[in-house]
C-alpha cells in the first residue's frame, strides 16, 4: 500500500495487505490486520514527529545513538593516529599516551555503536528470530557488519600488543606504527569495502543512506546536536583518562 498526499508526504507499507485463501481465513488474523494499519505521520507541521518509515518505524530514534557513537569512534581513532605520527616524529611520550587513550575510548564507543547496531538490525532487518541466527546472518553474509567487526578487532590487537611488550620505548614505537596501519585498515573496512559490494546497511552496496530519504529537517534538528554532544562526551572521557595518567606519573615521580 502506498499512501500519497501533498501535505503529509508518501508512506509505503509493503506488508499492509496480505492475500489469503478464503477457506483458510482466521478471524483473529482479521483483527490483527485491522490493528496494524499504517499510520502516516506528518513531519511538516508537527515538531515531535519524525519520518515514519517502513522497516524503521519508531526505531529511527536509534539514529541519535548508533551513528554518533561511530562518529566519535572515528574521530578518536583519527586523533589517536595523529598522536602516533607526532610521537614517531618528535619522540615525545605524551603523544604516545594520547594515541593509547584515544584508542581505548574509541574502542569503548565503537563497541557501544556496534552493539546498538546489532540490536537495531535484529528488530528491523528481520534476519532471524534468535541472536545466533542474527549473528550468523550478519557476520557471514553482510560485508559491512563483518568488516566493522574486523576493524574493531584490529584495535583490540593494538591493546593486546601494547600489553605484551615490556620495554617502554620499544612498545611505544611498535604500537605507534601499528596504530597508523590500523587506522588505514579501519577506514578500508568500515567505509571502503562495504561500498564495493551489497550490504543491508544504509549507505552501502547501493542502499540509500539516511541523508537521502529519512534524515529530514525535523530529524536533523536533533541529529546534529546529538553528534556534537557525543563527540564532546568522547573527548571529555579521553581528557579525564589523560589527566589521570598525568597525575599517576607525577605521583610515581
Amino acid at each position: 500500500v502506498v499512501l500519497n498526499d501533498d501535505y503529509d508526504g508518501t508512506f509505503a507499507l509493503r506488508d499492509a495487505v496480505t492475500f489469503v485463501k478464503s477457506e483458510n481465513v482466521d478471524s483473529s488474523f482479521t483483527a490483527l490486520a485491522i490493528s496494524s494499519e499504517p499510520e502516516v505521520k506528518n513531519n511538516k507541521h508537527q515538531f515531535e514527529c519524525f519520518p515514519y518509515r517502513e522497516i524503521l518505524y519508531e526505531t529511527i530514534r536509534n539514529t541519535f545513538f548508533h551513528v554518533p557513537m561511530w562518529f566519535v569512534m572515528t574521530a578518536l581513532l583519527f586523533f589517536s593516529m595523529i598522536g602516533s605520527i607526532i610521537y614517531l616524529t618528535s619522540g615525545n611520550k605524551k603523544w604516545e599516551m594520547v594515541a593509547h587513550h584515544g584508542v581505548v575510548v574509541g574502542l569503548l564507543f565503537g563497541t557501544c555503536g556496534y552493539l546498538t547496531g546489532l540490536v537495531w538490525a535484529k528488530y528491523t532487518w528481520y534476519i532471524g528470530a534468535t541472536w545466533g541466527d542474527v549473528l550468523k546472518k550478519l557476520l557471514l553474509e553482510d560485508v559491512k557488519m563483518a568488516a566493522a567487526l574486523v576493524a574493531i578487532f584490529f584495535y583490540f590487537g593494538y591493546i593486546i600488543l601494547r600489553g605484551a611488550i615490556d620495554d617502554v620505548a620499544k612498545r611505544a614505537r611498535i604500537t605507534s606504527m601499528y596504530n597508523i596501519f590500523a587506522f588505514a585498515l579501519f577506514i578500508m573496512c568500515a567505509f571502503v569495502f562495504p561500498r564495493l559490494t551489497d550490504s543491508m546497511h544504509p549507505g552501502n552496496g547501493g542502499n540509500p543512506a539516511f541523508s537521502k530519504y529519512d534524515l529530514d529537517s525535523t530529524l536533523r534538528m536533533f541529529f546534529y546536536p546529538a553528534v556534537i554532544g557525543w563527540i564532546l562526551l568522547g573527548f571529555w572521557i579521553f581528557s579525564i583518562l589523560m589527566r589521570m595518567q598525568f597525575i599517576k606519573q607525577k605521583q610515581e615521580g
Partner: protein, 70 residues
C-alpha cells in the same frame, strides 16, 4: 506585575496550543502505549549515571591536580 501576569498567560496559552496539536495526530504505538516514557526514563537514568560519575571524577581530578601544584 502586569507584565509578568501577561507573560504567564501567554506561556500557558502557548502550552495549551501545543498540547492540542500533539494529541490530535501523535498517536503512534510509542506514545499511545506510553512506551516512549519508559524509553525516556531508562535513557535519562543511564545518561544521568554516566554524567554524575564523570562529574565526580572531574571534581576529584581537579582536587588532586590542585594538591600536586601545592
Amino acid at each position: 506585575m502586569k507584565k509578568y501576569i501577561s507573560l504567564v498567560i501567554m506561556m500557558v496559552t502557548a502550552l495549551a496550543a501545543s498540547a492540542q496539536g500533539v494529541s490530535a495526530s501523535n498517536n503512534s504505538i510509542m506514545t499511545r502505549d506510553l512506551k516512549i516514557y519508559t524509553a525516556i526514563a531508562v535513557l535519562a537514568i543511564v545518561l544521568s549515571c554516566i554524567f554524575i560519575f564523570l562529574f565526580y571524577i572531574e571534581k576529584r581530578l581537579t582536587q588532586l591536580e590542585a594538591g600536586q601544584k601545592r
